[in-house]
Amino acid sequence: MTGARQAANRLGAACAVALLLGVCLAAAPASRARAQAGGGSEGQPGPPPGAALRAAREKAVAASAAADSLAAASADSQAAAPEAATPEIPGRFLQSLTSSPVAGVRANVRQTTFYSDWTTDAKLAAKATANQALNWSWEEYRKQNKTVENRKGSLDYNFGDQLPLVTVINGNWNWSEDRTTNTAGFSNLLKVDNKTVNLNATQHKFNALGLVNSVRVGGNFTEQASLNQDLRNDFNEGTAGANAQSGWQALPGVTVTGRLAGTTTGGTRLLGGLSSPSSASGDSLGLGVYVDRGPGTAFFEVTRSNFEKKYLEFRRNANGMIDTVGVPEDEKVVSELETRDAVAMKLDYKVAYGGFKSEFTGTHLTDDVGLATGLAGLKQRAADEANLKVGLKAGRDSLSVAWKYGLKWDDQRIKAATASRGRQYLQERDLVLIWKRHLFTATRLELQYHEGLTQDIAEGGFNANDKDRLTRDFTSRLERGWADRFRTSMVFSWRQTQDLSIRGASSSNNNAKDSYELAPGFTWKISPLLDLDQSYRLYIQYTDYLYSHLAAVTRKDDYNKRGDLVTKVTCRPSGRLTVTIRYDWNRRFNATKSSEDAAGRSLYQRDLEQDISRIDLDLSYAAGPGITLEAGTYRTRDEKTARGSRSTTRTDSGEMIVGGRVDRKLGRQQRVQVSAMVKKVNAFGPSITASSSDYWEADAWLKWTF
């Protein structure tokens, strides 16, 4: 643990140096920019300082939001790509070449990741492109004894107009080593080395035989070697596939389309010291009718597909779990033959006319999977679903209704069994009604009612888990904007959930929960420098155990109440500084039904009372263009009083975060980009462990494009 703390401190110091370096790097060109602006101001007045700062702050905020990960860097490259599009230079094969190395570090309470990437994009003659990416990363985990190293490489070549078909060849390499030692000291190496090459050629929408056709052919080869618990699991397999689609316009706006696809795979597999040829073949056939006429669109599709697959597999039990404990070595791995047969149908329509809108989607799926060797045997599944939505707008009102019905089942015939287990059904029905009304000036009312029922049903009672869950809820929301600066809202909601186990073996906990919530609130923009938000939430829940009157059932009805007042003040004393203070006070108690009086009124006894107070303070300071300094802290006090023991316990917890963000592009051509978010976190509290009490959060990277 000491070593981990030292490593964390080293990382923290490195991050702090990186942040400082980033600030210095960022500050230098900013000074030049100011000097240039100053020089220019002799002839042309620059923008007002306040506006410039606001613009800089907005840019910094936008940049910091985008700088949270390396994805931002690649997105930036992609965004820049269209800008760089230039007319092709005749006679030159290599039109342009761009490389972008990136190096960075990410850290949080769980792990630290160091990474580097190198991407190269080449534009070639005849609109051909080549892209190469190399990635490396090293992860160290703070809460477990674990390290992971990843190496990846990829190369894509798009032939552009060099070939008559749209042809792309792609190669990928993924390598990783995961070393984990568990709490008993057992070390495991999980290693994967995967190489894949893909080739795909497509011809889209060409006319032939009076039809509009699309064709795709492709193939891939994969070589994978992996090791887990000293057990090898390797394979070398090649796949070839093709699919074709033809469309015929039967009537104006009506198209009939047919699809046909097939794949075949062959290779060898090595599992647990046993090697065997592997193969797979599959095909699918589909038909669709598409209508786009008048006020609506509709389509109907049906697809049938099947495959057959031969491979080596660990011995598994009837539930499909690997089960090799106590099994002789030569029986741990088996040759499996898997077959699959599936049908999918989909009907869909959308209609819109004036203020009326309607949508319907219906699907039917069946899927049968059979194993020749595995104990799981034959598994059958089916799913039907229908969704209907209707919306209507009239004057100040709008009404929408959504209805959903779903019925799924699965069945299994264990290998060598004479009969199936029985179907396990899942039936779902769901209704949502929403009514919105513009009551009068700046005042809106929204009412929503929802009812849903989910039922689990075992055919023939093959298990005792039949159950129903019924959910009903109603929400009303009233909002008014009194002026530009003052808005109020009032929310009332009721929710009822009934959990019902149908069989007597498990129905003792059947209950109905009714909860009520009332939440008024307001937002007041007192001045451009000051905002005030306040909301209050009262939450009450009753639980009625349906069989609590039976002596053998120990569950007692209960009653719970919680009040929560949140006050938030946002202050902007200058264009650079934002201060937010939030105070959250909540009080709750839990009570259990103790008796009932002669009039049938329930009496409850309070078991637990709890007060939680939390205060948050956040500061954000835009130190300069692309540079933001941030600090935040919170403190929570939690007091619990258990009525039975008459004892009160008080706990305190809190956190302090200090850090900053930098996002700048450097150099005359802005080819160097630095992005850094570094924060130091210190926390305390009864559930805060040593590794969570003092750590760094960081996301910092440096990118160079040339």
Partner: protein, 212 residues
Amino acid sequence: MAQVDVLNRRRGRGATRALAAGVTVVVLAAGGCLLQPREAEPPQTGDIVRYLEQIDPANTWDNLETSAEATHAPGWEGAINADDFRYIPDSAAEAQFPGVFTAWGTAREVAFINALYNADVTIVATMRNPGFVVPPSSGDESVWENVIYDLRVTSAIDGSSVRYRGSAIITFTLEGNFWYITEWRDQQGESDPDSGQLLPTLGVLRGNFASK
């Protein structure tokens, strides 16, 4: 022209009133009588599943054990957050079921536990190792680090038994008045205390049922 405006306004008001009346009727018609659950059988003496009130994270976690041993799905469903739950697998489970755990939320967890319990299994569970010290909760979030759970799942169909033992980081949050699990992060499989063999985490069990 003014008369036409008045007529249009009246027509608009009429449509609005009709719409409002329609909404009221639909809501009243739907409320309480549209969907009805089945009638349940009364509980059998001696088979009662006893859960703890989730007024403390420890009670919430222990309810999983009760749920597993009774193969009673409502107990598991009641312990996880209905609106915000995430399961993050350990690397070995993720490597075995690539892509299966993407966006594993409440719905997939509920589907998993129902599929497991409906597969005619019996479970012996110990959801926290004896040496684990439960941290006192403070505020509205509590994190348990390195809690070790242990489950043995036996199939009633073929009698086979598979043991799952893993260490995890569990995050609980206070919603309303009760604690719920909002994040279950498996760290690694743990060794069988008897044989020393490395055992899989519940991620492997989840992946197996989810990938079917």
